[in-house]
Symmetry: D2
Subunit: 424 residues, 4 copies
């Protein structure tokens, strides 16, 4: 009887007590209780296949058992949980392993900053450092970039609705056209070059440019490798720092650990968060070239920059990167997803679809208003969790855990196809 | 041999890999490995008494066993870890308990927002909401207030060095004199009133005022209850929203759950973080009156706003508030600390000391440059972890876990006295 | 008949064609055609006594004959009229005479900048220079200061209604309490000192402070000489530039040529306009210490910075300053005005009046809403032109030409008294 | 002897007393004493032909006799000189004639605002009004636009060096690519359209766009009529106000009274200054559609907004526009100039020249660094006053009075050719 009541109004508590700002629970209106790998279960015991992966925070799936054991062990032995930026065993292990597994093999020499446990902390610290190092105030961001909701990060975020949420003008950032923004025939990097060279452009020399190589929230636009190299070269020529926000596209989401590896660029500053925590635990890193490390002690801080459960999980998660196995797996699955999405676009012309993205963050941009949301809604009804991307929620986004089984990947894609059919 | 080497240079890894921004590890230059209640241990097994409490994030001490068991159990059963703002069992429990244990008994009717898992997220969301609701851009903050390191929060933070870290001008905030700022004879609330009433004051009507009732980082200045009521009344008269940042002073740090309860005021928006997580886990809440809840879905978001381990720990920690036991214990200990600090000031005139603060966030402001830091450094050598507060690090700050034993509290105060003597 | 029609609706053309922003013509709803000395005439031939002096631009009265002859002569001989910042005879004469008559005798060594022909140009250039010299962005202004309507000047202006006219937040300026703002018992200079010294004040070290010694538009508050010296000393201690906006209070309005002479201070930058043009012609000067003259050629410019009719008139007007005669006359008249205003306040308690101001810019602040405007309106009906001052138009302002005859001064004051009586 | 000394160091007084910001006197290092029509004379009696026209403020030449007589007469009869925004005879005449001669025949229905006597006052008032009307803060300006030196106008000005003069970040304006900025193949209006339509563009809906139809200071780029119509249409679609800054290009400089007439657009707001004063006297007008006239009385003001000598001269100057004679003359001369400049570019390939501009504001952009300045310097030596335009002073600018004789125009062009030859 009570269960029945709950079943009818599962979200009563949330409706009554939680702010209207809540969002995903409106698309997935059930109470989740359990999760493992690529599966979530709701209170009624119904299972859902996960093509969402915690918005990119769960690259290794839900609750991976190896990490889970480490966490329980750490809790059991009263490992220190909260340490601000005191030195702890757990942090030392993470730093050492990050150097040995990630930085050294790639010939990268970055200092590591713990800016607070969220992506926006990483972005805010990157922007502050870039301004401090260069003595300039302006930062160039790109159309449809997404970097976070605190005022510094929001200033470099493209989404108009989110920007309006600031309730005040956002300053010291200039939005530039991303690769392809003005169509295939216009080289947007050339436009940036012109603005920099022209003493009458009305645009100041910026401290930095900040970009995602694939725009996870902004519609899955992926920059070409040549464009990324053009941008890096422009930055070098004009002594502008290049910040890559790899919060969503990093940690293997596009194949390699860093999304920019294939382009052969070396950003001055890199922001990592989401899957760096390994287990969905709050964690973020800001990486930068040693010569930029002019911070004074405590000049940027935050209460939760020493989240040791996050350190433990992150260190364990780096084991995935001790060889290039995961990268190859991702690339193979990415090719399969690509092929399937191209098939959908071809087979269902009503979509007026365009395949976008890279690695295991791909999707289909569709034309009709609300169509992408309807498809995701149908998918949810069929037991598949997917979200949209893009300023008008116009992209159906396929973002499973990297570790999803091939069978489950296929299964999810089939559900997607069925959901597309539902919407014809 | 290896251990010996480690002992000589315990922080080599941090020195080499971590950014210069690291701070506490410079004051406490050991590697911590374990913690329980009011004790931390370093790698060599040395124990330290904790008068720091994770900068206020560990009101219930390190790794309280009841919460620990809940966390392990939740991990064991694959409770969902990362959920963004999807509905989960763990969140429902927290919401329900927060209403039943905290809000309802106090006659408070706040909506709860999960703005991301750190204090600065709570502050940023509070500022955004206040601006959105009022349509005004400016916010009044107070001298020596501290609200966080992201640009929105930093704009309302007083510390000049931290502000300079922004690398750009901070706008849309005006710093006002806190209670007592112009000496005991000047009523700063009257000044604010004049600025509001005078059509030529050069200061716009603000969206909100944001304040701490006790300034945890800014030197332990505590506002009088009458001043708080004056400020609230000013806000009511001019339709300004009152935001209380209870990130450090809340969760019982001054006695009652909310630090503002004794003043009898009802802020429009309240920011909670630090000890709300119960176990030192990243969590923050923004509370506001229901009529202010004009957020659109997802208008503010963040990857880690669904940190379910934090929900589990926070819900369990609320058990401390099911009766007024903890409050009474804190008030008793606070009185003891007050007496002891007054004794120190009297007994050691070289300190030129002034006792400040409230509850279990009290301290002594001392005159000589660097003296407070020397005292804390001596305390550390004697096995007591303490930090300073204030723009010139001029305050020795006593902030033990609320749950510290009476004996250990006395023991810590004795070490403090010895450390003071060391610095004569 | 037509004349009669005109007389009934004299402002039809203005009502139909001119923007609603027009203001004085609403208080003085006649069409003026002619003026001389302290008298204006309207189209019907009615004469008005001038206690307004072009808002301070007509210190030497309307159309002083000596200057008029120079202007006509200059026009006749085709002297160059418009020269930007090319060198002209007329400008050379002005520069030389300004040095010989004003600067040298006062031991002042200022470079002269022609920033464009209005007060706000002078202020904008002063602010730019101060920021450029110090490398700081923030400027401190004072409650009820008035400095102009362009965005830079408006940012340092106190009036809320005018500020709102910007249609956007005004940044990089902080409003500070002027002398006496918090009552006679609070030393506002001490507050500024505290903000500067306190590393947690939330206020950055400013590039400059800008102030008027008497606030012409903001209510005729006059700073004490000791307060001015305190402010100058604060500026020296903290390497802040002191800008005195002498646009209204300068050129003898308070007695000496510069209003700050009696205080014995030496501002780093001085803004002059209004009566510097001598004949009501657009002209402004920015003066600054030679070591601040780091402008690059043309870094600030403007089409009308070479208004040669203004140069001719200004040079001729400086003859008034070849001895201290005018100063002594002003001081004598100022004393008479003071005595009369004190009499009014005493004799008409319903005014609840307070005498304010200095020199020949004095007035009475009255309590009741709209009363000052009613008094001025009655005065106009009686043939006396006066305006109000203050954020609520609460001050009746007496500002005749410095050259007004004693008899006419008395006559005007009598009309003022009659007008006061009218409003009982 | 003394004369000889003067002749050797003519600018001593200026060097000693005037700020380093002085600029034109460095290019034309003589003291000018007299001017008439298209001729200036220096102190030594040397005559110069004027291809500069007071940077556009002297469209009718120096000291046109008809206006001169009116001015002398007005001075003689003690016409009111300085009136703020009181109603005067002189202003009434100007308003009436502006309506009858300019607005009515063109079917334009604008309210007239007197914002202060300089172009930057007109621009500042236009920007304020646009923000006030729309409630939006951001304004779009264009690469290489020039609108003035006060902070509001400077924010919408492209020149980097002038912008840096602000000493602080310039906000609330976004620089957009002008027509042709990205080469002939890229439609910059399409880029603007994309930014407006894309909800993720990172650019807010602006209050207004502000542009010059020909960029007088920014390099003589002229917008095509079709582009202007595209921009106007974009503004209409998105409810953005269109501001045309016709300060330099207006008053017949390109042929018609308003430079935008040929494109058939109807700006919402128009800024006029420079030659509107008729005689080089400071004057500016802001015109706007009646429905935008939501100013409150005095919400924008300024001491010299009632410069009656300017009104007298301006009213008289409008006689030039009582028929279309001047327009036809300008168009004929413009064609001659065009042909001559094209000839120069063809005949002197070392220039690598490009003819730019429109009407009697045309010029040649040359490639080599400093070449344009060398040509103008040679021209001055040969008795011709010309200046450069463009962010790198790369354009030789031909801008004679509109009233220049045909013979003198030819003569000036010949001197220009000789000067070009000098620089081979």
């Amino acid at each position: 009887m009570k269960a029945a009541a709950k079943s009818r109004t599962p979200l009563t508590v949330f409706d009554q007590l939680e702010s209207e700002v809540r969002s995903y629970c409106r698309h997935f209106p059930v109470v989740f209780t359990k999760a493992s790998g690529h599966t979530l279960w709701d209170r009624q015991g119904k299972a859902y296949l996960d093509f969402f992966a915690g918005a990119g925070a769960l690259n290794y799936g839900h609750n991976p058992p190896g990490i889970k054991e480490k966490l329980i062990e750490y809790l059991r032995q009263d490992g220190i949980t909260h340490s601000l930026d005191m030195a702890t065993d757990a942090k030392e292990t993470l730093l050492t392993r990050f150097r040995d597994v990630i930085l050294a093999p790639r010939g990268l020499d970055y200092k590591v900053m713990f800016p607070g446990p969220t992506g926006t902390n990483a972005v805010e610290s990157a922007l502050k450092l870039a301004r401090k190092v260069t003595g300039r105030t302006s930062v160039w961001s790109f159309t449809n970039g997404f970097h976070g909701m605190t005022i510094g990060s929001l200033s470099v975020t493209g989404n108009r609705r989110k920007r309006n949420g600031a309730g005040m003008p956002l300053s010291h950032a200039v939005s530039m056209p991303y690769d392809g923004y003005m169509g295939p025939d216009t080289d947007t990097a050339r436009y940036l070059e012109r603005l920099l060279e022209d003493e009458g452009s009305g645009v100041s020399l910026p401290a930095a440019m900040i970009l995602e190589t694939v725009q996870g929230e902004g519609g899955l636009h992926a920059a070409s490798e040549s464009w990324l190299r053009r941008i890096e070269a422009l930055c070098r020529t004009h002594n502008i720092l290049l910040i890559v926000d790899d919060v969503q596209a990093g940690c293997g989401r596009t194949g390699p650990f860093f999304s920019f590896e294939t382009a052969g660029i070396r950003p001055d500053i890199v922001c990592l968060s989401k899957s760096i925590g390994g287990y969905g635990l709050p964690l973020a890193l800001t990486l930068f070239k040693p010569e930029l490390d002019i911070w004074g002690p405590g000049e940027h801080n935050g209460t939760f920059r020493g989240n040791n459960l996050g350190f433990v999980a992150a260190a364990e998660a780096l084991r995935y990167w001790e060889d290039d196995g995961l990268r190859r797996v991702v690339e193979a699955k990415a090719a399969a997803v690509r092929a399937f999405l191209e098939h959908l676009v071809g087979a269902y012309p009503f979509l007026q679809g365009e395949v976008r993205g890279k690695g295991l963050m791909q999707g289909i941009a569709v034309k009709a208003d609300g169509l992408a949301e309807r498809i995701c809604s149908r998918a949810f009804a069929r037991g598949l969790i997917m979200e949209t991307s893009g300023p008008d929620s116009e992209v159906v986004k396929v973002m499973p855990p990297l570790t999803i089984g091939e069978k489950e990947l296929e299964q999810g894609l089939s559900i997607l196809e069925e959901s597309v059919k539902d919407c014809r």
